[in-house]
Symmetry: C2
Subunit: 581 residues, 2 copies
């Protein structure tokens, strides 16, 4: 067998097995060394290729796509710094538990550490940020080595998705010439590798025993005031319904993060307190509403006031439910961890005797929530504010679509202003490491598999990843970007850095002074620049009727924004404390 | 002492000592956790700050600045994926031996691996790509700990610059509140840390003994036909003169890479064969001009035909001179390494008896070089070609300026068409890992310290790092970009991938179809779009009279480009072989 045939069979068997195991999308960045993988994926009919030039964008695109589809996405790039450009998205995928399969081409051993062009040390390049690293063998096409390459493919998909999902990295040394020969027969088949075997293992979920569930309920005996807290998590199908049922049966308020999937959809929302971030801003409210216990699902909520709240309740028993494992509890409070599938956990509890918690406690939270909502939903400013932009967005965002939320101010504004809604909206964000990078590409990646995605983000985040717009244009992805432009780092105006005016604007304010309408032109976007909430709603609705990329840019002012937010929070607290007082 | 005073004294002592050790520039990316470092650098009068939003750009900007100034540049960023965005430039700095001091802010120990926001595992994040990693102590302000922090600062500058320079990484855990108090007295001083000590060590260079030099010359005894090869290296002051003197005395041709600094400047260029890449494309010429030995300085040349040439001369003794250490020899040929300062090495050889090499050999190379130059310098196409763009650029590029060259086609066109020149031009490129990423920022960084920088690069490379334009606009850096737009990956048309048309355009051609004039508008650039070599020269000259950013975009055609290059190479070979034949 000659070099080209060996290379073709080896690569084709790998690619075919990856697809057998359910991988449906591959993101390819152009390069020479990666030619065998790029060609094999392109030739195989079972997978969709997306070619993205900038590898940093490519990896965030894969991240968004994997979040949207809830399954592993493959990536291919050439050797050298291309691989290093994956790193930000790999870190995010690690912490936000997103399955990625990184396939990097490399020079063969004899061209390593000898000054060959575009040859860098790629072994374990991502350190502990990948769940599995394999240096692949130099291509061979014996029966054994074709089994080997299929097994690596199959295991990579499994490992990326099992337990807490995350990225895996396979590094492929390839010798020249790098092209394949698709006229060869049977390159996608491997007869010795049984069609009847389980490729993807039968893999169980962690479930508590009846004894464990009863022991848990015993821990809650005698307590009156409980809270369920739902932080960021991705299941928008079964979990919201189950946890809502549990909350109703147990009469517990649910403090629901915007990324918990609890605020949107058809499940019952009577107990969902979605304004808790605004409520807990006030120290007197935090003081008055001390819980007897907390059960948390998902990651730590976005809300900073919730963080203060639990820090002030150090001795309150806290139970954190993680699907598989993990330690996401940054306050240092003593915590009981429950490692079990949360749906099964809720179902198990629902079958047991219902504890007798305080109904009044729930009603008080519900009343406060109504008061806060009235404030958040009313009042119209002459010039649109950041909160009004989110409020307007919520009114018109289409059913069965995805809302992808940028970090920094955007996710906080969504936390405050995106309230309970019957519409089925998946709300996604990159809350593993909370970076402002890669957001356009993440939204575009989600858009590659969703009917319609709305991405809301600030100007610094938009700027950071403008390259992500190219894939949107090139593939005609239906993406509406709500760009909240406060010309700089708006979040810093809320922090203590703002008290030091001397270096503030240079180091933290960092105005970009860019006209993004020109970027919109370059990337062929429909561009809107509304000035009021009414205009915004009209423009968003128009964008949802259009194909491809739309950018709806709202200009706001950083200082006014701080004042406006603070006045809202103050008004809410004032009304609640007066009523209570 | 309270928290703020401790934090202020600790950070100020670190920053002050970094500056004492000669660091003149710091690149700061905005963030909250990094506030102490950002503020201390901004407050200190001894250093220039550059604030750059996108950390990937920031790191490449630092790389370009460090290359231009030939000294270490500091970087500051916040915790999280910000740090990971440094990775591509860190890899490049490692392989191209550029001193960077990476100062990353981190959460303190109690906020690590507990799901705290923007907290990732930053320890040894860059693996073996940094020469030195230090996890810094939680700030303390005892006499001992202020000495400690000054010693870390001082050592970081030394280690980044010694031997083969490269990046170092210091990770700073900071607790809140993060602001400093500059009204405190004596924060920049540390009396117990002696003003009279050597902070930066007296550090010798490797030099061969007389015995070693004589032994080397003995190895060359009886040989007639030698070659000096000068690959990429950064010394544009002393080395070019010394190696030119050696070549003249020894009657050896110098095959000079465009990045060797041998093609430009006032030193004698009688022996500098700058067209060797074009000459060695021809197999018959390679066959006819087999050398008896090769002495190489600097890294492997860009030229692919030179790589073929030495591969075909496996048994020819090859000597590679490295300033300090290294193994940059990708052919696998048996090689003798000489680890010694190349200037001292040349000077040492010049003082010894001159070997008796063939004069005819030198004359033949010189004659071939003249023939090739005639072809490269003549002929005008109706529509400007990529080679003509470089030729035009060379005619008008100003004295005492820097030419920063992109990878892929740009550096190859410069190799072929940027010929010997009396002007003092530093020619820089990122040839550590040869990525197309980070080029705009690298050029901008060089522009931050140079009078005038011209950056020549292709459209994919320009696109990859358009974010780098923001710093150029924001700081009014004088940068002329010669953008050679062949709408895609031009280099692939020269490779075997082009023989497979089915997937070629999607995977390798990758046309962007973007109007970069719109990017020029957004970033306030002077924009030119010349169609002939004459227009190009006029536009470039105009750009050199203007302040700030200029983009001179030349539209070319990928397929025509291949034909035109190949016809040039063929014509050169034909004339030489006819004359010789």
């Amino acid at each position: 067998m000659d070099h080209t045939e060996i290379l073709t069979r080896y690569t084709a068997n790998f690619v075919d097995e990856l697809i057998n195991n359910g991988v449906e999308h591959v993101i390819i960045s152009p390069g020479s060394r990666s030619t065998p993988l790029a060609l094999a994926f392109s030739e195989h009919e079972g997978i969709r290729e997306w070619v993205i030039i900038d590898e940093r964008s490519a990896a965030f695109f894969a991240l968004g796509l994997a979040k949207q589809t809830k399954s592993a996405v493959a990536l291919v790039c050439t050797s050298g710094t291309a691989v290093a450009n994956y790193f930000p998205a790999v870190v995010e995928a690690h912490y936000s538990r997103v399955p990625l399969i990184l396939l990097t081409a490399d020079r063969p051993h004899e061209l390593r550490d000898v000054g060959a062009p575009q040859a860098i040390d790629q072994l374990h390049l991502f350190g502990n940020y990948v769940k599995w690293f394999q240096e692949m063998a130099i291509p061979e096409a014996s029966v054994e080595m074709l089994s080997y390459v299929r097994q690596k493919a199959s295991r990579s998909v499994y490992i990326a998705q099992e337990g807490n999902p995350g990225p895996v990295h396979l590094n492929f040394p390839f010798r020249e010439p790098l092209t394949l020969d698709f006229s060869l027969e049977g390159i996608w088949e491997h007869k010795a590798y049984s069609e009847n075997s389980y490729r993807y293992p039968l893999d169980g979920k962690k479930q508590l025993t009846l004894d464990q569930l009863e022991a848990f309920i015993n821990r809650l005996k005698g307590k009156q005031k409980g809270l369920i807290v739902c932080g960021p998590q991705g299941d928008d199908e079964i979990f919201p319904e189950k946890v809502a049922e549990l909350a109703e049966q147990w009469r517990l308020p649910i403090l629901a993060d915007p990324l918990s999937q609890l605020r949107t959809g058809r499940h019952s929302k009577g107990n969902v307190i979605e304004t808790y971030d605004a409520l807990l801003k006030n120290e007197a409210i935090r003081e008055r509403f001390k819980p007897d216990f907390i059960i948390r699902f998902g990651a730590m909520p976005v809300s900073k006031s919730y963080l203060f709240f639990i820090k002030e309740n150090k001795n309150v028993p806290q139970f954190i439910v993680e699907n598989h494992s993990g330690y996401r509890e940054p306050t240092g409070n003593v915590t009981d961890f429950i490692f079990a599938d949360p749906v099964h956990f809720c179902e198990g509890l629902l079958e047991l005797d219902k504890p007798n918690f305080s109904y009044e406690w729930l009603q008080e939270w519900q009343a406060m929530n109504e008061t806060a909502k009235n404030h958040l939903l009313t009042g119209v400013e002459e010039r649109i504010t950041e909160g009004e932009a989110i409020r307007g967005l919520q009114k018109v965002i289409p059913e069965n679509s995805t809302l992808y939320v940028g970090n920094s101010m955007a996710v906080r504004d969504v936390d405050t202003f995106f309230l309970n809604d019957e519409k089925n909206i998946s709300i996604l964000a990159n809350r593993g490491a909370n970076g402002i990078d890669g957001m356009v590409s993440s939204g575009a990646g989600a858009g590659a598999a969703a009917e319609r995605v709305t991405l809301v983000l600030g100007d610094l985040s938009f700027f950071h990843d403008m390259n992500g717009l190219h894939a949107v244009k090139h593939y005609g992805i239906n993406l509406t970007i709500l760009l909240i432009n406060n010309n700089g780092g708006g979040i810093f105006s809320f922090l203590s850095q703002a008290e030091n005016p001397k270096h503030f604007e240079a180091l933290f304010g960092t105005p970009l002074n860019l006209e993004f309408s020109k970027a919109a032109e370059m990337y062929g976007a429909n561009y809107f620049n509304p000035e009021t909430e009414e205009d915004l709603k009209r423009d968003l609705e128009e964008s949802y009727q259009m194909r491809g990329l739309s950018i709806v840019e709202v200009m706001t002012d950083r200082e006014e924004n701080v004042k406006w937010h603070r006045s809202k929070w103050q008004a809410i607290a004032d009304e609640i404390l007066t009523n209570e007082g």
